[in-house]
Symmetry: C2
Subunit: 249 residues, 2 copies
């Protein structure tokens, strides 16, 4: 399984993903689910993937092949030369559709699922910050001020904290904390989501990755968040009013 | 959908359920999912149900019919006269198996799911506090000191808080708060779970329901928990250390 979360607030984009993939419970591996492309000062694009790993890797390969070929032939459209992030999301959707058409029947005949879901986000110079969720069918939706985040994979454990603290005016630093707390709740409650994590931050109108880092299992800052949050939750809980009368014990 | 949670701690049992059932999104109704039986001072038994409503109602009807018939014929085994809660869970499992055998094929031919899962809990005089989760196949597992709670239905949103604050030594009053917070998180994040709620508490060795109440949508104590928890979460969150450096804005 997977947990990836992406947030688009007024001041930028924050994306966080785990790295665990599994087929059954004894066949698990580590694969990055976050992929970034950058032309510093012109555009920064990031994608995160969930679902069938072979399809997801195929999509990333097609995107990279197009970028390589466009060096020779600039008429080839790529996520790095199209005139909008919307168009980039279309290219991702087309690559997904192409791979689904090619493999879906044979994958399903084998008893596995061929679906993938991807998050595509970024900004190009002259454009807006954008965040899209691209479905297996190639269609996609965009985050708005009403719904500032998308999650893919094992999303339920980590949703309540996002619902409570994230809105379009939240600072990027607080969004980073919120996605880390959301991931921490998921890691604690679901074995199929695992460290290390990949984090990236794109500040609005910077057109580059201000943060692009891997958070390893023993990372002291992530551990501090996890421990502080656990203690703060218990302390917050102790202040919650009773619903039934307390009796002497 | 449904959310039911049951906790067995040293000092007693706490159970909380929502009341929403739905088939699709525009066909939803209110049904209690909590059923209680009591011989005050001798035993208290409570069940909560999730899954196919017709099967669940059928199981409850069979249990009640057996109790009625046993007034005439005391050799009929019922959840109120068997010599252990374990045996009561077996009776529930048998009723589930019987109904599944009778309806599963026709329900599935109709495209619906026939599965139900039930939580059975209580204590009889001379016995221990017990909590069982009974599966559709009629088999069941019991809560232990290592795993003090079971959830059925839409369980993921409300799991992190239980993992953080509930253990076998938690007081009943705190367990009630914890299940209310767990339910509140679920209500906020999932439309298929809805107020009002049914709550019951059985104190150890009391063999009766110390609390058996319905919590309506506007209940001031539940609202106080919800509001306090929201505020406390945001306050707890503000104290979480940063993972990326804050920049002047």
């Amino acid at each position: 399984m997977t947990y990836c979360v992406a947030v688009r607030v007024n001041s930028g984009l924050v994306l966080l993903s785990d790295t665990r993939t599994n087929a059954g419970i004894d066949n698990f591996s580590r694969f990055s689910k976050m992929f970034t492309w950058e032309v510093p000062g012109e555009r920064a694009v990031v994608m995160m993937t969930s679902g069938n790993l072979s399809i997801a890797q195929g999509v990333i390969t097609r995107i990279n092949q197009a970028i390589e070929r466009s060096a020779e032939d600039p008429t080839i459209e790529t996520i790095l030369n199209v005139d909008s992030l919307y168009h980039a999301a279309e290219l991702v959707g087309e690559a997904m559709q192409g791979l689904q058409d090619r493999y879906r029947q044979s994958i399903q005949a084998d008893g596995a699922g061929a679906d993938v879901t991807m998050l595509v986000a970024g900004q190009r110079k002259g454009g807006r910050l954008r965040l899209f969720m691209v479905y297996a069918a190639g269609n996609f939706i965009e985050a708005t001020d009403d719904t500032v985040y998308f999650q893919i994979g094992e999303h339920k454990y980590g949703k309540p904290i996002l619902d409570r603290v994230v809105s379009s005016t939240t600072s990027l630093e607080d969004v980073v904390k919120a996605v880390c707390v959301s991931m921490d709740s998921t890691l604690r409650s679901n074995l199929s989501v695992g460290m290390p994590l990949d984090l990236c931050v794109i500040r609005r109108d910077s057109y580059r990755f201000d943060v692009r880092q891997r958070i390893e299992a023993g990372d002291p800052k992530f551990q501090a968040i996890s421990q502080h949050w656990g203690a703060a939750l218990r302390s917050a809980f102790s202040g919650v009013p009773d619903i039934i009368p307390r009796i002497a014990t």
